[in-house]
Subunit: 429 residues, 2 copies
């Protein structure tokens, strides 16, 4: 073997980053592996497009098969993104005996177990460090460095777009729409931002991490999920008054029998490490029985950080190829863990209610809460408006059960003195 040949599926932002690293660092990479890595074939949408990097025209193709079926290609890097046709390409590549490196969180979250089993069957490697946390080492630490730990919890900021929006809302007092617009202008949010702002992206990534942490197969559809679009500027002000920041956290916890999986906005203490993670940065807090609390912090997206993760996977596979070692990995799944129903969650809550500004209102509301076994830890009245005769009630609760809270909020909505249940946000202490 004279070279290890790479086939690249996709030459967008990330694909271009990967190609750049492969070309500009060729000597260094060869030194690390012992054999050159060659960029053999690249799937592009338009072979004639003007590009920022110089590539020999004959390596570009717009037929995926030219890459996936090329007998000379050893490793396929998939950076198309999205479920289809990326899934089919990866499967075909594995069946063709090619090792696969992918940055595709959706495919890995939804089909990771199936693909890893297929890879094992065909004795090839399937690596996906770039699928979560961009340039932050996570997959490999979870698989190797934390292997002796029982992991009890993950609390993670996994989506840079929403973290940027939340930082803008918190620091600049922007409303959601303006913060989103700013994120779009800066290229941090897409024209259609649904996957980011609705927590879908975070849920995919949490499915991958929690699957590794708990040695199980997590269906991202089973992750409870709320987006950030219903947060308002005053929620951030009140959070600060109570000593909290608002973050979109992806949370996975495990007790002996069940796991809790959710991605939604939460209040977290403003002096916690995660509260200080601003802008597009990601941070992943892991709690292991041996390590205690670990935090990994860095850029969770972008061409270069993602290329770093992809190249780490490519190098690991290439080293094994060069040394004649198998790249297939053992898949060790524990018995299927139950997923705890969201209704059973026990946590603190923040409520923001718009009420008629007159005596006796709080008494009515607290009666409903009391009847549902929800204790109030503090309450403040804000924004009295003499014209509309309304005020805002901000309530922080003791630990309560999600289903009781949902029931109470329904009852509160029905009270004549309540104009609106304007928001409710869970509080992680």
């Amino acid at each position: 073997m004279k070279n290890i040949n790479i086939g690249l599926l996709g030459l967008g932002t990330i694909g271009t980053g990967v190609a750049e690293v492969l070309l500009s660092k060729a000597g260094k990479l060869t030194g690390q592996i012992g054999i050159p890595l060659t960029l053999q074939r690249i799937l592009v949408r338009d072979a004639n497009k003007q590009r920022s990097i110089e590539l020999e025209p004959h390596i570009l193709t717009n037929h995926a098969e030219d890459v996936i079926n090329d007998p000379e290609v050893n490793i396929i890097i998939e950076v198309i993104g999205g479920e289809h046709p990326a899934l089919e390409y990866i499967k075909q590549a594995i069946r063709n005996g090619k090792h696969v490196v992918t940055a595709n969180k959706e495919v890995i979250a939804k089909h990771g177990y199936e693909l890893l089993s297929l890879a094992r069957k065909h004795d090839v490697g399937l690596r996906y460090e770039a699928s979560v946390g961009g340039g932050i080492p996570l997959i490999s630490p979870f698989q190797q460095d934390l292997a002796a730990n029982d992991i009890s919890a993950i609390y993670a900021i996994l989506n840079g777009t929403t973290n940027y929006i939340l930082t803008q809302m918190s620091q600049e007092g922007l409303d959601f729409a303006s913060a989103l617009k700013r994120a779009q202008e800066l290229g941090y949010a897409e024209a259609n931002p649904t996957n980011d702002i609705e927590g879908i992206d975070a849920a995919y990534k949490l499915a991958i991490l929690s699957g590794l942490a708990f040695h199980t197969n997590v269906n991202p559809g089973n992750i409870y999920r709320e987006g950030i679009s219903r947060l308002q500027a005053n929620d951030f002000r009140y959070a600060k008054e109570f000593g909290y920041a608002i973050k979109l956290l992806a949370i996975a916890k495990r007790d002996s029998e069940a796991i809790e999986l959710r991605a939604h906005p939460v209040f977290i203490p403003e002096n916690s490490q995660l509260a200080k993670v601003d802008d597009v940065y990601n941070a992943i807090q892991v709690e292991g029985n041996l390590t205690g609390k670990l935090i990994f912090y860095g850029q969770g997206a972008g061409a270069l950080p993602t290329s770093s993760a992809i190249m780490a996977d490519v190098l690991a596979i290439a080293r094994n190829i060069y040394h004649g070692r198998s790249n297939a990995s053992k898949i060790e799944l524990e018995q299927k863990l139950k997923i705890k129903p969201m209704a059973d969650l026990k946590i603190h809550y923040y409520f923001r209610l718009t009420v008629i500004d007159r005596p006796g209102v709080l008494s009515k509301i607290s009666t409903v809460l009391g009847n549902n076994s929800i204790g109030i830890s503090s309450v403040i009245q804000k924004e009295s408006n003499s014209k509309s005769q309304t005020a805002v009630l901000v309530i922080m609760t003791h630990i309560a059960e999600e289903k009781a809270v949902q029931r109470a909020l329904q009852e509160i909505k029905g009270l004549k003195v309540v104009k609106e249940v304007s928001n409710f946000i869970r509080v992680e202490e």
Copy 2:
């Protein structure tokens, strides 16, 4: 092969932690590797000592050779610490064809290259994840996950003892001696705390990390080093006034030709991530050309976190043994990089001077600084004492050259109006 047999050198705090994990998690570990890990032989000081874990008495010995030369032992875990006889034990183990896992920062910092070469010669693995950062994955991320990066800088809090002392001084206003005493009472500092408080431990760890980051062989003796014992409570107050925290940082930077290596107290902006790392926690900030800024945070010491790292290494080696793969690793060193002389450092400085409290003093001092091309960015006068007729001058400089600063401080010491150069601390912006 029915078992992979472990020989453990040392049964102190960490050794006991490792033994506990090996015994209590035997089933889980076997599942991960495919073959049981057996604790075959343990070197102890006193075989009759009462212990917190139950061990079959026949596996204990106080002769190192019983462990190192046992033909049944596959992997040696060295947790004795210190340079000798640990170094000799490790060498002998490698020569006997045994894989070695060590937590020994001193041995790896001073002899890592030699030992890795020896291990390669004997086709065995030598792993040392536990030598830096306790339970924080670092060695493996540097070797694998960051492999495609050119690393330009490391800024790290690598010693929990000193970070605890500095946190106490900063938050509680304690003087150094009281903070050290508290650390000793809590078991965070040893009776002889020299290795920690003089930055020796941090320098060992920096030697290991910077060697990996820059693909070179760093002699810890070449790392410039200052301890924390000359810090006083008022330094922390003044730091806060200027918007800084004081941390003992281990710093490695690289430009095209030379590396800068130093471990000493520094002012860092109080809103930086590292400034918020308190108590015994460690944090390692790495800057890669692809990843950008990454931070790894967690417990840098303690039996369980260290056991986590040791077991990660043991599992990695055991998996390779089980699959018949070599554990030897390639050592790729770049041409020997020069180490930048400390005198050439260019950085901001903080000076605390005790002066005679009368007009014209500042003028004399600023003349000396000016003559040495050192610009003042701010100066405040503090602690005027009418009895002793002294005051404290706190000066922050623009970027200046270390050798000019040292020369200026000598000249300032010679001024009649200056009672004392009470402290000077470098400032990382």
